[in-house]
Structure formats: C-alpha cells, structure tokens
Symmetry: C2
Subunit: 219 residues, 2 copies
C-alpha cells in the first residue's frame, strides 16, 4: 500500500483520502478549502490539486462555484458500484486465467495458505482477512495484464470500495466462506478455465456486496 508520494499535493491527497475512507471526515460533509488548506499547511492551489484527484477516485463531488462534498454512502450507489466491480473483476479473472504465469499462480496459492494460518491464529479478527482479501484481488487483477483494467480497479475504484467496507463494517460468518471462494477461483485459473473463474469471481463479489447491503437494511 505504498503510494508514490513525490509532491506536497501527493501527500495531502493521500492523507485526505485516508481520512475520507476511514470516516474521519464524515460522508456527505462539505469540504472547506480554506480550512483544509490551513489544516494541512499548504496553499489552496495545492489543496485543489489534491481535491481534483479525490474527485477522480469518486470520493468527493464538485460543483462549479459551489464547492466539494464528501460522497454519501447509499444503498443505490453500493449496488451500482458492485455491479460494475463484479463485471470488471470477472473480466480480470478470465484474463488472468489466460495470462498469469505458473509462478504468479503459485505465489497466490502460497499467499492463501498464509491467510489460512493467520486466520487460525487470529480467528474472528476480520481486519487481517480484509487485508488478505484485498491482496488476493490485487494479484488477480494484476494477473489480467490489462493496464487499463488494472488502473481502473486498483486506482480509480479501490478506495471507494474500501470506504464501504471500512465504514459499513465486515462481519464474521462470511470470512471463512470468502476464503473457500478464493481457493476455488485460483484453482479455476490454474486449470486455465477462464469461464469458470469469471463466474466464480462474479458470484464472490456479488455475495460480498449483498453482505454490505444487509448492513443498510439493519438501519
């Protein structure tokens, strides 16, 4: 999770992004440019550079001459995002089945074994599972060897997905299930069965989305 931070606006971007994803800056709240620029000790120009990138990640919404608001988490948006994500990661999975090398596949398999162990030790602590889950998805996406797709999922959508997961919370019973699904997916990829891998990944993500949707129903 090491971002290439070279300029001041890079750092501000990363900092604010984390604050939004973790809910430190509440969803739906208005963003004051003068206030935030003082808070991060940069000029407004630098802050606005960061805001532009946050908009590219769909974490804030801007209106001309009005200002920026942090995105509001709604059930409709969750559905929209997960429909898109399911479709795209399904594609990534199919391409991964065609393009991943044997070495890359073996790495993912050993990664899953590590998860299994930490899961036994730290039973119930969903945080680690979440990190592991994201790592797994990262590897599959990279395995597609489709740079446009990789950028779309890993840079432009990733933090938004993470925001729902962090703020809505992941609950227990799905954790072990997700692990089995990961295993089935990498097996399909190893077998070169792109069609099956795509189907399994789409189901896996749909289930994950439904899981978060249930959190909304509880309110």
């Amino acid at each position: 999770m090491v971002d290439n931070v070279k300029t001041a606006s890079d750092k501000v971007f990363v900092d604010i992004r984390q604050a939004i994803v973790e809910g430190v800056i509440p969803q739906g709240s208005k963003i004051s440019e003068p206030e935030l620029s003082k808070q991060h000790q940069v000029s407004r120009a630098t802050l606005r550079e960061a805001l532009n990138r946050l908009e590219s990640c769909h974490l804030i919404e801007r209106k001309a001459n009005v200002g920026s608001r942090v995105i509001a988490l709604t059930e409709e948006k969750l559905r929209d995002i997960y429909q898109v994500r399911s479709s795209l990661e399904g594609l990534a999975c199919r391409l991964a089945a065609e393009n991943m090398t044997c070495d890359e596949i073996q790495e993912v398999k050993s990664l899953l074994n590590q998860h299994l162990n930490t899961q036994r030790v730290k039973q119930g602590e969903s945080y680690y599972q979440e990190e592991g889950d994201l790592d797994f998805h990262y590897r599959i996406i990279k395995g597609s060897k489709n740079n446009h797709l990789i950028n779309l999922l890993c840079n432009e959508m990733y933090q938004l997905v993470r925001m729902y997961r962090v703020q809505m919370g992941m609950n227990g019973p799905r954790v072990t299930k997700a692990f089995d699904e990961h295993l089935a997916i990498i097996n399909a990829i190893e077998a070169g069965d792109g069609e099956l891998a795509e189907l399994l990944m789409k189901r896996h993500i749909s289930a994950s989305g439904k899981n978060i949707e249930n959190k909304f129903k509880q309110d």
Copy 2:
C-alpha cells in the same frame, strides 16, 4: 454533445479535449503548460485545472516534475480498452433490459429508423453513422439506470474510444452490419432478454474493436 461549460477551465478543457481527440495535438506529443496557457489566454493555474480533467479521461499522462504527454494510440491499449468497454457495455445492456421503460425503448427504435433513412440518403458517409452509433450506445447506457456505470462510460471512457475511432478511421463495409446489430440488441432488450442483449452487445463491440485493430495491422 453539449457540455456544461461554466468556468474558464471548463472551456479550455473542452477545447483541448477536442484538439487531442481529433489529432490537432498529435498523439504522444509533450504538452507545454506555458505555451498552451498563452494559446488559450488563461493562466497556468486554469490550464492545469483542465489538464487534471484530461488526465481523468485518460487522454494525457502526467509525471511529477516532468510534465504531461498526450496519450499514444497503440494496439495494446486498444485491446485493453475494448476488453473493458465490451464488458461494461455488456453489463449496461443487461441492466437496460431490466430497467428501460417501454417509452425509452420505443424512442431508440424510432431513432434507429431515422438512422436507416439518413443512411439510405447519405450512403457511405460514415460520419453520420458514427454519430448515430454513439447516440445509440448512449441511450442504452443511460437505460441501465446505473449512475456509476453511466459516468464511467459516458464521461471517463467515451472520448478515449472516440479518439481511436476518429484517428484510426472507420471504414465502410461494417456500417450496415452495425445497424443490423443495433436492431437485434434493442429487440432483445424489448423482449426483456438481458442475457441475450448482453451477449449481442459484447459481440458488437468486439467486432468494432477488431475492425480498428485491422487498421493497425495495415501499417
């Protein structure tokens, strides 16, 4: 194709975008901020605002402390983009079959009839067909009622796709074929057969991509 142009940077963004898509600013060329800002008679801050949005559309690439370059059209990128587009518009089509109203469907059908007429009159002039093609795709995408998907396809990817079509050129024989495919797609949507509509749209776009790929092979 009327964009909401409210600020100076909006106008500069739209102008430069068109220049890039149409090849007035050559692909792969470096962008000089001082030069462009003078050319459009705005300050560098305003220009940079526009450049940020061009980057969001994947039309330019920026490197910290180095500068911006117009994207270079390659066969590999074309493949990557069309794989993603095929998947996403396929999804849009399936959702459209579920969510489009009867009125919306009828509008698209009458739209296609208009295309058939203009096509008879202006045979061979692919420009009109291209406009019509894009209009058709627009309507289907909007019909998905998925705002995230709509934004992704209509705002973030659309001009990039158009850049390939404009600069690589669309040739004749595929034009009438595309019309028939459009007809089959809207019929599937009208019948509420999302699965078929998705399949047909994916094929339609893949064929379109292959068509442009052939242009590359000719070099």
